[in-house]
């Protein structure tokens, strides 16, 4: 078995504009996904929107600067993740295809193992 991180990228504008009913339906879809794949899921979280993000990086003089906003501005922003266990990439992709998304998609990354 190997560990993979499924990163969920979605359009925050679509999320923000969703009404109560569809927001609830989306949440229910995630619960259903969690129930269906419980054995494989090792952890999961949803993130507060990128408006709340703070980035820290080095400026040219080597000083750490703290700025408002996500590290990279994109239309589809990282909005949550699932940590899963799968036998191989095909199995990980099969699980990742079931992750509910609004308007974006997901990225599957193997977790690095150090021996």
């Amino acid at each position: 078995m190997a560990s993979y991180l499924i990163l969920i990228y979605d359009d925050e504008a679509v999320l923000a504009g969703a009404d109560q009913t569809s927001a609830q339906a989306h949440l229910d879809a995630h619960r259903a996904f969690g129930a269906a794949n419980g054995a494989a899921i090792g952890g999961a979280n949803a993130l507060v929107s990128t408006e709340s993000a703070t980035s820290i990086r080095r400026d040219p003089s080597g000083e750490l600067t703290v700025t408002d906003g996500p590290f990279i501005e994109t239309k589809e922003a990282l909005g949550g993740y699932y940590l899963i266990e799968a036998a191989d990439l095909d199995e990980a992709i099969a699980i990742a295809k079931q992750v509910p998304v609004w308007a974006g998609g997901v990225e599957v990354r193997p977790i690095r193992v150090f021996d």
Binding site: A2, A87, D88, L89, D90, I93, V108, P110, D115
Partner: protein, 417 residues
């Protein structure tokens, strides 16, 4: 020893058995690089051993046994190998239990791993040529006109991803199989089209790539015998390649379909291709390769260019456009309309595509427009279209053809009356 029976036997075994030997060895090593080393080593040993003891009755079995024995030795010796098993197998392999003459045919696993959708398309093609066809990195680089360094990096990166992301060494299940098979066929088709009309360079055809594509299609046909699209792709390659001897004149000039000597088309390939088309078209609805092959069959069956069943070709392009909408299909359809209904109708159909951004830099659109304009007597516009086509063409043989057409047009424009 070049030209000797031994050299010929090794070359033959390399072409026919490489995929089988490598696929069987990956089972033992579970590592593509190491498996490649072991197989290369087996071919090197064959050179000595076969010179001494004669060419074995079944060279593939001999090579597989030697390559796997080497892999086993290395596996026993290396603790690293025992620890890291980057390639997954459905079934754990116990080498001692398997007598060599019953080695499972793992070629499909190898092909599906090379053409996994998680790999970039250019990496899929490179890996297939390297691992399934056994081409050296130098040869693959030359085929795609990139530097050896670039190609080596591309192949290394793809192999690393297979290991790191754990792309399985497996034939996909029934549910995934059609889509995954289509990905494999796309790779083989790309190898073929790259060979059939080289995107750049001095030669129109890269026959080596065409041969590899044909080998791959035949291999798939033997391994996935019930898949109609596999039959379709094999038919397409056979029927298109049947014209290869007549596409360039003795002087190296490009000859269009209209000017080719049909008596010199490969009738054996056409017969085999037509049989494959019939089988491929039994799928309902027919797939894209079956339809492309059917179009090639209509050309192959026509006694002359003029007697070609252009309306049937237009109808086949209509079907193809429905299941595989692509600007290139639309362009070919428009060209066929021009031949069925005259250059004015063809030009109208082409102009309907002018807004398609993916055709803006496509040399055959400009070339087809130029031809219809010329036949309509609109010389000045034809001239502009030929010049545009020339700007977009990098194959030397195609360039020479367009330059000739332009020159002939200029001569006719200068001629009085």
């Amino acid at each position: 020893m070049a030209g000797s029976p031994l050299a010929a036997a090794i070359a033959e075994a390399h072409r026919r058995e490489w995929a089988f030997v490598l696929a069987a060895t990956v089972r033992v090593t579970r590592d593509l690089d190491l498996a490649e080393e072991c197989v290369q080593d087996a071919y090197a040993r064959a050179l000595e051993s076969w010179a001494r003891s004669g060419i074995p009755e079944r060279p593939g079995a001999w090579l597989t046994t030697v390559a796997r024995r080497r892999a086993l030795d290395l596996r026993r010796r290396s603790a690293r190998l025992a620890r890291s098993l980057p390639l997954l197998l459905d079934d754990p392999y116990e080498p001692e239990e398997e007598p060599p003459h019953e080695v499972a045919d793992d070629r499909l696993r190898l092909i599906f791993t090379c053409c996994h959708p998680a790999l970039a398309p250019d990496a899929q093609v490179a890996l297939t040529l390297r691992l399934v066809c056994g081409l050296s990195t130098t040869e693959v680089a030359r085929a795609f006109l990139v530097s050896e360094t670039t190609m080596a990096a591309r192949i290394t990166r793809a192999k690393k991803k297979i290991a790191a992301a754990r792309i399985p060494y497996r034939v996909p299940g029934a549910e995934e199989l059609p889509a995954r098979t289509d990905a494999v066929l796309s790779v083989v088709h790309l190898v073929f089209t790259t060979g059939h009309t080289a995107p750049a360079g001095d030669r129109l055809v890269r026959q080596d790539l065409v041969e590899r594509a044909l080998d791959l299609a035949r291999m798939l046909r033997s391994l996935l015998a019930s898949d109609r699209e596999v039959a379709g792709l094999l038919a397409l390659i056979l029927l298109t390649n049947a014209r290869s001897a007549t596409r360039v004149s003795a002087e190296g000039e490009l000859l269009l379909l209209a000017d080719q000597d049909r008596a010199r088309w490969d009738q054996q390939a056409i017969a085999e291709g037509r049989e494959m088309v019939r089988e491929a078209l039994r799928r309902r609805p027919p797939g894209r390769f079956a339809l492309m092959a059917a179009i090639a069959a209509v050309h192959a069956e026509a006694a002359s260019f003029e007697q070609t069943a252009w309306r049937e070709i237009v109808a086949l392009y209509d079907l193809l456009g429905e299941i595989w909408p692509s600007p290139v299909v639309a362009l070919n359809r428009a060209a066929a309309i021009g031949l069925a209904d005259g250059p004015a109708a063809g030009l109208a159909a082409l102009d309907a595509l002018a807004a398609e951004p993916r055709l803006a830099t496509y040399r055959y659109l400009a070339a087809a427009r130029a031809d219809f304009l010329r036949r309509l007597g609109r010389g000045a516009e034809a001239r502009g279209a030929y010049q545009e086509a020339l700007l977009l063409t990098e194959n030397a043989v195609e360039r020479a053809f367009l330059a000739d057409r332009l020159e002939a047009l200029d001569a006719s424009l200068r001629a009085p009356g």
